[in-house]
């Protein structure tokens, strides 16, 4: 996994609540191989019309936002289906972080597994950041994971919370599975206890 430390990048605003994972990547692409990259499917039906032409009114098609690597969204981002492909699509397109007041739980968890950072900031802070990047299209936002800070284009600092272990995994690019495999003995012991107390399971 690619480590996540500090990100200084163009941010794109998406002032829409409940952006579901069907929007992020429509179901018909889930059977495609990751080899060809999922970036082309990101927000497919919002970005392109039925003939595959770009829709000029979609934020990522506007020139200043084309190189965006941070998305500033609204509440309940990534709700809906558990498809991890939503994270793959954001990642392959070039995004590395999403800032929102709240997230779909499964999307939130999936993000960390791929080195992608979902940042929860209060509603007002998110709205303020969106306002700042809308006022100055192409403006940059800094995400400093070690310091747990988001720095807006005008220098405003917003602290965010993240649990310590997830933070460490991201900073070092570590995978949770290795950590769990090291707990095999404890799991085996647990299974013995379970077999004794609830044998029908």
């Amino acid at each position: 996994m690619e480590p996540f430390t500090r990100l200084d990048a163009v941010a794109a605003p998406m002032p829409v609540p409940n952006v579901d994972t069907d929007q992020i990547i429509p179901a018909r692409f889930l059977r495609k191989s990751r080899k060809d990259g999922y970036g082309q499917y990101l927000f497919r039906d919002l970005r392109f019309d039925a003939d595959g032409k770009e829709k000029s009114d979609f934020v990522l098609n506007e020139a200043p936002y084309r190189g965006a690597r941070i998305l500033v969204a609204d509440k309940n981002f990534g709700c809906g289906s558990s498809r991890e492909h939503a994270v793959y699509a954001l990642w392959d397109y070039g995004f590395r972080a999403v800032i929102a007041p709240s997230f779909g739980d499964i999307f939130f968890g999936n993000s960390f597994k791929n080195g992608f950072l979902p940042i929860v900031l209060p509603v007002e802070a998110t709205a303020q950041l969106r306002g700042a990047i809308q006022a100055k299209p192409g403006a940059r936002i800094i995400v400093d994971l070690a310091a747990q800070q988001v720095i807006g284009p005008d220098g405003t600092r917003h602290r965010f919370e993240i649990d310590a272990y997830r933070k460490e995994c991201l900073l070092k690019g570590l995978d949770e599975l290795d950590f769990t495999l090291a707990k095999r003995a404890e799991i085996a012991e647990f299974e013995r206890r379970l077999a004794a107390t609830t044998p029908w399971l």
Binding site: P17, P26, A50, S102, I106, G109, K113, I187, L201
Partner: protein
């Protein structure tokens, strides 16, 4: 000192905590892991890392998302990518010794229909699946939740999962439901009330006399759509109905173990005085048949209502979202919901494809005809539901009325198998998501109960099902 009263969630959580980390994350043991034809990627990860499946005996699966509903022959799937998804689950099952009900097995179906039907899902379990509607299984009194592909590979490799304990929310629905009002209307009313993000970070326990009064099928419908309110899980404490439902099911415990299991299940309901982080209450008598008008499940209203007017919304961002939704849906503010014309009717999905749903829809379809402008289909949730419906003659009622009668699968809920709603067409669907493009690019989905879907089919428009109830 007496122990503090605990919730159903607390009891299951504590029993399954293998390791607790200082940061509050818990390594939870997984009793049952359900897989489907979308789980392929997780097996690839396992292969790449050279890891075996830790507990194939705790893993069960069936192909559902990509299966055709017109045939039971894998070779009939023209699209190579789709065919490979269905083939992969069979191959992985064989390679790892996992029980999978394949396309040729009558037990095949939508995984969340099959789990409870086979007695694989049981009270007190931690149950996961790489699918957000895993919450369905919580109707049996399990802690059941959806996970992503990386987590699926983690469970395959270790039979455990790192989780933070969700907060506890209690939703009480008290009173008596009106005739023609179903579990689907109850959950739509709940989501309309608390919002699509209303339960984010919470496990919801549904309580109250109206919930107790639901059959297991109805309870499965309610828990199914917990995720549409943002909940991590939905659950209903086990009671006599749960135990009666499980008795004799193929994977339910037997003999002395059955007695032992029942005693354990009886100890699971939340203790009196147990603390919940949030409480919500609804009056059952006030719930009427519901339908959605927008592109989020929270955009639900009574069939007796009207399309809302964005002009009445103060928040400019929220107003813009509503304008967009109505534009996509092709609706005008102030329009009566009753009377909106329908092109497609889909009765199926893990929300509403069980035998009780089909009986209800058939009771409306009986002796009537699908309107000539409407294409309607019924897709049972499993091969066994299909068989039972056929034994009861429901298939004939449907086909005589002009519905198509299909084989089991997810079908038009998500359209991954090619069962799609045409662009711009309006669909009355018993599924769970009315997202933009969910049933196909440009498809206009309205979520309803099976009774309301059948009523829309036979009248050609959304309409209050209550006057159509027969005998």
């Amino acid at each position: 000192m007496a122990a503090a009263p605990r919730t159903l969630l607390d009891k299951i959580w504590e029993r399954h905590a293998v390791v607790e980390r200082e940061d509050g994350r818990t390594l939870l043991y997984v009793d049952r892991h359900l897989i489907h034809d979308g789980s392929r990627r997780a097996f690839e990860v396992l292969g790449e890392r050279g890891l075996p499946v830790s507990r194939p005996d705790r893993t069960f699966g069936t192909p559902d998302h990509y299966v055709p509903t017109t045939s039971r022959d894998i070779a009939s799937i023209d699209d190579a990518d789709r065919r490979q998804m269905v083939e992969a689950i069979g191959r992985n099952a064989a390679a790892h010794g996992i029980t999978v009900f394949g396309l040729d097995d009558p037990r095949q179906g939508i995984i969340h229909v099959v789990g409870p039907e086979q007695g694989i899902s049981q009270p007190g379990m931690v149950l996961v699946c790489g699918d957000s509607h895993t919450s369905t299984n919580g109707a049996l009194g399990a802690l059941a939740f959806g996970i992503g592909a990386s987590e699926v590979s983690h469970v395959l490799a270790t039979q455990t999962l790192w989780q933070s304990k969700p907060k506890a929310m209690r939703i009480a629905v008290e009173g008596q439901l009106v005739a023609g009002v179903t579990a689907k209307d109850v959950i739509l009313a709940i989501i309309a009330k608390i919002g699509a993000g209303g339960a984010v970070g919470h496990a919801v326990e549904y309580v109250g006399s109206a919930i107790r009064g639901l059959s297991m099928e109805g309870r499965l419908t309610v828990c199914n759509m917990s995720i549409e309110a943002g909940a991590r899980a939905g659950m209903i404490a086990p009671d006599d109905a749960t135990i009666a439902y499980l008795e004799g099911r193929p994977y339910a415990p037997e003999g002395a173990q059955w007695e032992q299991a029942v005693a354990h299940w009886r100890s699971l309901p939340s203790d009196p005085g147990a603390r919940f982080d949030r409480e919500v209450a609804l009056d059952a008598a006030e719930i009427v048949p519901m339908m959605t008008w927008g592109t989020s499940p929270e955009d639900a209203a009574a069939i007796t209502g009207r399309v809302p007017d964005p002009a009445a919304i103060a928040d400019p961002e929220r107003r813009a979202v509503m304008v967009k939704a109505l534009d996509y849906m092709g609706l005008t503010p102030g329009m009566a919901l009753d009377g909106i014309k329908v092109d497609r009717v889909f009765i199926g999905s893990c929300t509403n494809s069980r035998i009780e749903d089909l009986r209800l829809a058939a009771s409306i379809a009986k002796g009537r005809k699908v309107a000539p402008t409407v294409q309607a289909m019924v897709v049972p949730g499993s091969g066994l539901v299909k068989r039972q419906a056929e034994e009861e003659g429901l298939d004939r009622i449907f086909t005589e009325a002009g519905f198509e009668w299909r084989h089991a699968g997810c079908s038009m809920c998500v359209g991954m198998n090619g069962d799609l709603v045409a662009p711009g067409a309006r669909s009355a669907s018993t599924s769970n998501r009315n997202f933009v493009g969910r049933q196909g690019p440009g498809a206009r989905t309205h979520l309803v109960s099976p009774a309301m879907a059948a009523a829309a089919a036979v009248t050609g428009a959304f309409t209050d099902v209550r006057p159509l109830l027969q005998g």
